[in-house]
């Protein structure tokens, strides 16, 4: 168990390509941190620098009380789970689990005990004498996790461990990783490009873009108050609609539509407006609504995603699957659910709505006044 302190870390590859710059991140002991971002955003590079597989060009990484910049990966007290599992193909599952311990001269009795414990925890006891190639993808992933667990490291590092699994298995393995991490209480850094995985696993999310941190925060905070248009469009499915709008006093114009802001206007003039698909409602035509030209609908079973245009800007709306569709609909949205971003640099403009009021947690009992 250890806290991790990443301060002003950067990575410049030979030839001057800058992959990561100025990352500052304090990770508490036992915390589950997810690094998320599109491919090429530097998330894997950052993880590999913590692991010691990439040299750190700038800044410092501390694991516990120790600066590990110059420490070999084996001596950093970490364990890593790889996307393609990286199991040793010629060793049985048991030998795979034992290998790291043997190299550390752990006594035989203790190795056996730890392997048995990890095998029980991951339910791979019956496969211990098989070779990795005789296992399915999910089983291999468990073995890869077992190899990390037996070491009892201070930090787990996960590099897109679920990307090679099919969708159903991914969901169940996701739950398992979360449970396991809770149970062991080991500080974890998890890299993924899948925002859903990030949302469900993280204690705190770190959204990266172009080698820089865009936002750090609890999943719901990031979801409800994205710090920039990039985070807004990356976190959440379907992606948040971002449209051009203009604020005049207390009214917001989006294409041909006008909305009253009820005092939530953060600025005036041109802004980028963020609309979550599920925040919009269908209303009869009238004032305070946005005309919406329907193009096509996707059936998801529980709901229906309607794609269309407000003016000439594409927007996606989630409606209940019973809702009647016409070629022209009208949308309305609670002004407190609107997100405003600077039209130029995409940074969030603080509205009057603080994060806490954004979404009352379902099931929370409100005190009766």
């Amino acid at each position: 168990m250890a806290a991790i302190d990443i301060s002003s870390v950067g990575k410049i590859y030979n030839g001057g390509v800058r992959a990561v710059s100025d990352i500052n991140l304090d990770i508490r002991d036992g915390e589950f941190i997810v690094l998320v971002g599109p491919s090429g955003c530097g998330k894997s590079t950052l993880l590999r620098m913590v692991a010691g597989l990439e040299a750190i060009s700038e800044g410092k990484v501390k694991i516990g009380d120790r600066v590990v910049n110059e420490v070999e990966p084996a001596d950093r007290d970490i364990a890593m789970v790889f996307q393609n599992y990286a199991l040793y193909p010629h060793m049985s599952v048991r030998q795979n689990l034992e290998y790291g311990l043997k190299n550390r001269k752990t006594p035989k009795a203790e190795i056996d005990e730890r392997v048995a414990e990890a095998a029980r925890m991951l339910e791979i006891a019956q496969y211990l004498d098989r070779k990795p190639r005789a296992l399915s993808g999910g089983q291999r992933q468990r073995v890869a996790m077992g190899r990390a667990i037996v070491r009892k490291p201070a930090v787990f590092l996960f590099d897109e461990p679920l990307s090679n699994l099919d969708a159903k298995l991914r969901v169940s393995m996701r739950g398992e990783i979360k449970r396991l991490q809770r149970r062991l209480g080991t500080t974890s850094i998890y890299v993924t490009h899948d925002q859903l995985e990030a949302m469900t696993l993280a204690d705190r999310l770190v959204v990266l873009n172009g080698g820089k941190i865009e936002q750090v925060g609890a999943p719901l905070d990031v979801y409800h108050t994205p710090a920039s248009t990039f985070v807004a469009s990356f976190i959440g499915s379907p992606a948040m609609n971002l449209v051009k709008g203009e604020i005049h006093g207390d009214r917001l114009a989006i294409g041909p539509g006008l909305l009253s802001l009820a005092g939530f206007a953060p600025a005036s003039g041109a802004v980028t407006v963020g609309l979550r698909a599920e925040d919009m409602r269908l209303v009869p035509a009238g004032d305070n609504s946005l005309p919406f030209k329907v193009e096509y609908a996707e059936e998801l079973g529980s709901q229906r995603l309607v794609h269309g245009l407000i003016g000439d800007q594409p927007v996606t709306v989630a409606v209940s699957s019973e809702a009647e569709l016409a070629s022209e609909l009208h949308l309305s949205i609670d002004p407190s659910r609107l997100h405003f971003f600077d039209a130029e640099n995409g940074k969030r403009l603080a509205g009057k709505a603080p994060a806490a009021t954004a979404a009352p947690v379902a099931g929370k009992i409100q005190p009766v006044a």
Binding site: P73, A74, F82, P89, Y99, N103, R147
Partner: protein, 280 residues
């Protein structure tokens, strides 16, 4: 589904006959007496002198000094073939490991220098090589027979390609598991290269077994004669009215063929795997 037709079999049968007939003829002819062969030429029938000829070939002391037997020559050939193959594998694996996994100045250049030596076969450098061995006093020794031939561009190239196909994560996992360069090489890389090793072993064994020019230069002492030289020296004794021992030459040729055939048959499944798939 494709149904095999008679014509398909015909092609296969012709191919098999084309490849096997010379071997069968050599074996059958070797069971006749030398005089018989001299009179009637090659034959496809059983001559009935199998045991005598082969026993004589393997055990009779012959040659100029009268100290060399067929069995001795078989042993020499085996030492040359196996030493040659193993040495080449060890050397080229280590060279490829250095080239693929270590960053050192001029690594790419080193590889290309090794690779271009493919263009320079033994025959080109045979005089300087002989000179070096002679100066080192290694003529007429197994060391002199084997060592100068060990550096192998082909082997290095094959292993380099194979190592490059090994997923990088395996190395990283091993590093995190606390395996240093030696441990990684011995615990991980050698075991996963075993099909490749088998393939290279077969190729190099056959190549070493069939060496003729180099052993002929390096050895004047008959105790170091290989089978390939032995066959030739039998045919050289056409002196006066004496008939060369055709039967013995054929018997030696058949014997010379057996070990490579045995090795290919035993290792063939590995051989094909090693050359065609990377076992991940």
């Amino acid at each position: 589904m494709y149904r095999t037709r008679f014509s398909d079999h015909l092609v296969l049968i012709l191919g098999a006959l084309f490849l096997c007939t010379p071997v069968v003829v050599a074996f059958m002819t070797s069971t006749h007496t030398a005089a018989d062969i001299h009179m009637n030429g090659l034959s496809l029938s059983w001559g009935g002198h199998f045991v005598e000829t082969y026993e004589k070939v393997l055990t009779q002391k012959g040659g100029f000094t009268g100290e060399i037997t067929g069995a001795r020559m078989v042993m020499n050939s085996l030492i040359l073939g196996i030493g040659f193959a193993l040495g080449k594998i060890v050397l080229s694996m280590m060279a490829a490991y250095a080239i693929v996994y270590f960053r050192f100045p001029m690594a790419t250049l080193s590889f290309w220098v090794i690779f271009t030596t493919l263009l320079l076969p033994l025959e080109v450098r045979i005089m300087p090589s002989y000179q070096v061995m002679s100066d080192l006093g290694l003529l007429n020794s197994y060391t002199g027979l084997i060592v100068p031939l060990l550096a192998s561009a082909t082997g290095t190239f094959y292993f380099r390609q194979f190592f490059k196909s090994v997923p990088e994560e395996l190395l990283e996992a091993a590093r995190i598991d606390g395996a240093g360069p030696f441990k990684f090489f011995i615990d991980i890389l050698i075991p996963i290269s075993r099909t490749m090793i088998a393939a290279i072993f077969i190729i190099m064994f056959v190549y070493g077994w069939n060496q003729y020019l180099w052993p002929m230069l390096m050895t004047t002492d008959e105790r170091f004669f290989t089978l390939m030289r032995g066959i030739k020296s039998i045919l050289q004794v056409w002196v006066g009215s004496q008939i060369p021992d055709y039967n013995e030459a054929f018997a030696l040729a058949v014997l010379a063929m057996l070990p490579p055939v045995a090795i290919v048959v035993i290792f063939q499944s590995w051989f094909i795997k090693g050359l065609t798939e990377s076992d991940k």
